[in-house]
Amino acid sequence: MMIIRLFFTFALIGLLSIGGGYAILPQIHHQVVQRNAWLTPEEFTDLIAISQMTPGPISLNASTFVGTKLAGIPGAIAATLGCVAPSFVLVILLAYLYGKYKKMDMVQGALSGLRPAVVGMIAAASVTVFILALFGDASPSFAALSYKAVALVVACFAALRIFKANPILVIGGAGVVSILWHYLGPILSK
């Protein structure tokens, strides 16, 4: 039963992720975290971190991550197949129409509206991740802010924006800094 639900949920996610790259994040967040509560917000963020550091599109990584967690390998296969099923039908259909009409004004028109909307939705999902990363389960407030966490986020952001650092290195580096805190923290506070 879970396998069928995984298939159809990821089919819906695959169907609604238009624009590639991060465009899948709002759909995954909505279906997997908010509606079905299959992943906690922390696990969702960890999934993004893992996806950045492994090959393959985020959507397929998410399918396997969620599928394996809920129903083992069969779950991973069901979710992955669900994720690509809508593309399979639509891409072949579009290829057929594309040959006939070439320009596809309708598709271009719809996309001109979809592109900015997808960016807005990615921004919404990113804000959720940002708040979670800084505050965890605590409700956001100045008192709950860890100055170390703020410093690390600012440093990562500067590395990306100013020095155009590779996101993989930034995320990995943030992990290493956090390990150092873990070991040095108790020593330094003595």
Binding site: L15, L16, I18, G20, G21, I24, H30, E42, T45, D46, I48, A49, Q52, T54, P55, P57, S59, L60, N61, T64, T68, C83, V84, P86, S87, F88, L90, V91, L94, Y98, D105, V107, A110, L111, S112, G113, R115, P116, A117, V119, G120, M121, I122, A123, A125, S126, V127, V129, F130, L134, A159, L160, P167, I171, G172, A174, V177, S178, I179, H182
Partner: protein, 166 residues
């Protein structure tokens, strides 16, 4: 990221596909829902060997992440409560937050470059709908598609009318 790799392989090395055809495929892959790498592999597979070719191409694209991620997921579940792993993931979450904010800034800049007030309004409206009002993403996408269609239609008509007036 994957597109230049595919182009190099199929157009330059294997010479299965013409340069221009590949560009068309990328355009279709980007206009269709789903991961672009998967969509392009469907098109290339379908062009070379029909439905069976498309199926095989998709399996080839899907298998590596399926294998890698299932192994990682088991490791993740086994070790996430270990203090050092938990500390690593805590730091990596902060890194992800920075990466996402950085990506959003780039994406918003690209939309702003279009110099279209409508696009910016759609962007802000979509953000507010999802973040503040928790509206279903399907409704937001459908609304945005309709706005895009209507505005393209109106633009096409005014262009046509302007042409006739001359």
């Amino acid at each position: 990221m994957i597109i230049p790799l595919m182009r190099k392989k199929f157009v330059e090395k294997l010479k299965w596909i013409e340069e221009e055809e590949m560009l068309d495929y990328v355009a279709i892959a980007q206009s269709s829902p789903g991961p672009i790498a998967v969509n392009t592999s469907i098109l290339v597979g379908f062009r070379l060997a029909g439905i069976l070719g498309a199926v095989i191409a998709v399996l080839g694209t899907v298998l590596p992440p399926l294998i890698v991620l299932s192994v990682i997921t088991y490791l993740y579940a086994a070790f996430i409560n270990h203090p050092v792993v938990a500390a690593t993931m805590y730091g990596m979450r902060l890194g992800v937050a920075a990466v996402l904010i950085d990506a959003v800034i780039s994406l918003v800049k690209a939309i702003a470059k279009e110099k279209s007030l409508l696009s910016l309004l759609v962007l802000i409206a979509a953000f507010v709908c999802v973040h503040v009002f928790d509206i279903h993403v399907l409704i937001v996408l459908a609304g945005a598609a309709v706005i895009g269609l209507v505005s393209t239609f109106i633009k096409a008509r005014t262009l046509k009318n302007g042409g006739e007036a001359e």
